[in-house]
Amino acid sequence: MSRIGVFICHCGENIGKTVDCARVAEEAKSFPGVVFARDNTYTCSEPGQAIIREAIKEHGLTAVVIGSCSPRMHESTFRRTCAQAGLNPYMCEIANLREQCSWVHSNREEATAKAIEIVRSVVARVRNNTPLDPIRVPITKKVMVVGGGIAGIQCALDLAEGGAEVVLVERTSSLGGHMSQLSETFPTLDCSQCILTPRMVDAASNPRIKLEMYTEVEKVDGYIGNFQVTLHRKARYVDWNKCTGCGACTQKCPQKKIPSSFDEGMSMRTAISIPFPQAVPSKPTIDKDYCMKLTTGKCGVCSKICKAGAIDYEQKDEHFTVDVGAIVMATGFQVMDTDKFPYYAGGSHPNLITGLQFERIASASGPTSGEIKRPSDGKPVKTIAFVQCAGSRDKANHVAYCSKICCMYTAKHATLFKHKVHDGNAWVMCMDVRTPGKGYDEFYRRTIEHDGVHYIRSRVSRIIPDGDDLILMVADTLDGGKQLQIKADMVVLATAAVPQPDVQKMAQTMGIAYDGDGWLTEVHPKLRPVETATAGIFLAGACSGPKDIPDTVSQASAVAAKVLGLFAHPELQREPTIARVNRCAPPLQSSCVGCFTCESVCPYKAIERETLRARDGSTRQVAKVNAGLCQGCGTCVATCPSKSIELDGYTDKQIFAALNGLV
């Protein structure tokens, strides 16, 4: 006989305001099997949990139903509470009265009626629950970090420090990411290269970190503790084991007119190249789209010049698999291109550049050696205009979110400009200047008070080209909307930060979620900010949304702590909600007829065969589930013609009862 306890949570006002929780609890008392029911203001609080524990003991409850927030929120909390009171955690079920009832309905009567139905259904379901024990599986204590920017580097270093083996995958030929492109960093204005390069070297020389450069993730199989990742290493046409990194080949390569992606297209590189002087590892790759030897068969200059004999035109792409226990996504972001803005000088004008391009111009190692010259004619820039919110906070035309980093980097750009061009004039067209952060607002105010940058509170409507110059159409909203035309030598658009274009595809192969804008989604934005909905896959840095360097580094370290925490366990406990082919004993029999349709259906190859012997000595083969492999999708259950498989936690009996409770 079931002895069920029902606990209805008000969640403060969240549920209680729309649902009459006391009435729901009162009604619940009449449901079959319910011996105890009450409502409570905050069930997830410690006193709330204590009430559950006491009720379990006092009333000898065999099952518990909690009407509260979504099971995705607190199911594990309440199951733990039950376990503390000696009840099998899987005898506790959640009725979702918040996300799917009180928050989406406003009529109290209707919402209460629905809440009662939901609770009745869950009570009916829980009567058919059976105690389950967690499944234990081993953990591969090696972690893959995807992305070699500051997030990936920091995470890999922290993980290695904690004793984990790390595979660091980067698709370009050098570590560094966007941070290596920056000139100085806010708010301290220390040189980006100076603080980043030592970290890059540390990562490359750490014995626990294995770099997989020029390599992309192709496929991810498996599950937490036991992932199999297929990697694709693109041909570099240079044997890095032989290459000494002398750079002679890059000097002599005749193919010199290729826009450098490191310099954001503002300088040229050769077909065999090292992306930037401080690259780690400092080894060249051949761009097969431009190399004359690879495209036309004629040339071979680099091969002749290389004393180490490292050039290998025959090198092929490689595909290989690595077993890891956890995966860290540190894939970063991109910035929107100027061509997304037809109303800004048609989206293409040589002197209309992105913030990242300005970083290169301002960088001492950049195409102009740090002098602020404009791309069209190399003229030193005297008047510069910065346009903020280009694409950000523009839900009608671009993206609705705030890109978060632009206010600070624009202030930094304007400051750098004024430091370099003392008699220059810098305009910033802004909406709200958002500078929370340690020393951030002080930095922004200094830009105005000390460096004399002019801020106009206006969003630019149009930029009109006037030869090499650009005219900005603005209206000073602090002056009743007075129209102004600002003429500038160069305009820097603070274009919106956007997700890497191919990260969604990777997310799909990994089964992790991304939001409408394409950012990878954390499982809880506040309390679990670096975990994904797929156990064992973590997020560091800007792949989950725009972030500045301090936030990115903190996240990377947080992920390292999470992974090390996971690896601290000798083995993993897994949810026991997996499929099971029925057996009755003795002697062991099953209603399975051995058609093995389930075998073809299972995406995890979790169906095995077992020979059963009948009383008369005859034998037959039936299906059996490998508990280590089954992920509990239940597709086999729905497909089984003889209905001989059950999915624990979602058995036919439970669903049938839940349905009966509803209609």
């Binding site: 037809p342 109303y343 048609g346 009109i464 080209p465």
Partner: protein, 293 residues
């Protein structure tokens, strides 16, 4: 390809800008397009109706849609940008809100419904539905070395959710036609700026300032002529130009249909070019002598 449209000429094309009508009729014939004038059509109400009597503006557009529908049409060609904008805006409203469609139909005492299924075509939509080959087929002479500033103004392209023009900031529909006729479109900044037509009568300073801005920009870009697809733009950029531009700083503004008509072999007289206030010889002179198949 032959096609039939309900034709909504609008008041201007029957009055001061009748050359637009004449030239469009000729070009349509050359393209084998049948324009069936909507019987007993009324004025669209223009800026005035939507400015001070929203309900009247909607009712007038509804009336036009209804008359075209009754005449058995589903597509209405409105050469005037104002007329087009009124129809398109009303259609956008009743398409996105069935309640609005219902109340309009109720107000007009119509029971059969389906007004929201009608479609209004601007000259841009019309040109877009023509293939390159179709536009080129009737060409007798191509232009040579003629630089054209294609002027779109406001209502043909804006707002994008109403007009559905793909790139409302840098539209390229007229440029395409111009290229096919052998002329050369210039890249200029005021293609979608406003010419101030709504103040044509009532606020001269605005008209002059805005009109001048357009003409100057076209001149700066090196254009020999401007083409337009709106009678009000034409009034402002042609007749009014004589008021705000010095005689030696003027450039002619003609209708896109007149430009097409010239290439299709119609005479300047047939196309009503002499109705222009600013001299158009620069355009006719650029017709290449060679005959084309």
């Amino acid at each position: 390809m032959s096609a039939t449209f309900a034709y909504y000429p609008g008041c201007s094309l029957q009055g001061t800008e009748k050359e637009y009508n004449t030239s469009l009729q000729l070009v349509a014939k050359a393209l084998d397009h049948k324009l069936e004038e909507i019987p007993n059509w009324l004025c669209c109400g223009a800026t005035s109706a939507h400015s001070i009597n929203h309900a009247l503006a909607t009712a007038l557009a509804g009336d036009t849609l209804a008359k075209a529908q009754d005449a058995g049409h589903s597509k209405i060609l409105a050469p005037c940008a104002m007329c087009y904008s009124r129809l398109a805006t009303t259609l956008h409203q009743i398409k996105s809100d069935p309640d609005k469609a219902a109340s309009l139909e109720k107000a007009l005492k119509r029971e059969k419904g389906g007004l929201a299924e009608m479609r209004a075509l601007s000259m841009l939509d019309w040109a877009r539905e023509l293939s390159d080959a179709e536009i080129q087929a009737p060409i007798k002479k191509k232009f040579k070395g003629l630089k054209i500033a294609c002027y779109y103004g406001c209502l043909l392209v804006r707002p994008q959710k109403v007009t559905g023009v793909e790139n409302a900031e840098i539209p390229q529909d007229m440029e395409r036609v111009v290229r096919l006729l052998g002329a050369e479109p210039v890249s200029w900044t005021m293609a979608t700026a406003c010419c101030g037509a709504s103040f044509s009568l009532s606020d001269k300073p605005s008209v002059f300032r805005l009109g001048r801005r357009v003409i100057e920009s076209a001149r700066k870009a090196g254009a020999d002529a401007i083409i337009v697809a709106c009678p009000m733009c034409h009034t402002n950029l042609d007749m009014r130009q004589t008021e705000f531009q010095a005689a030696d700083e003027r450039i002619p503004a003609i209708f896109i249909t007149q430009l097409m008509g010239l290439a299709y072999g119609f005479s300047p007289k047939e196309l009503g070019l002499e109705g222009n206030f600013v001299n158009t010889d620069a355009i006719t002179a650029a017709l290449a002598a060679t005959e084309e198949g």
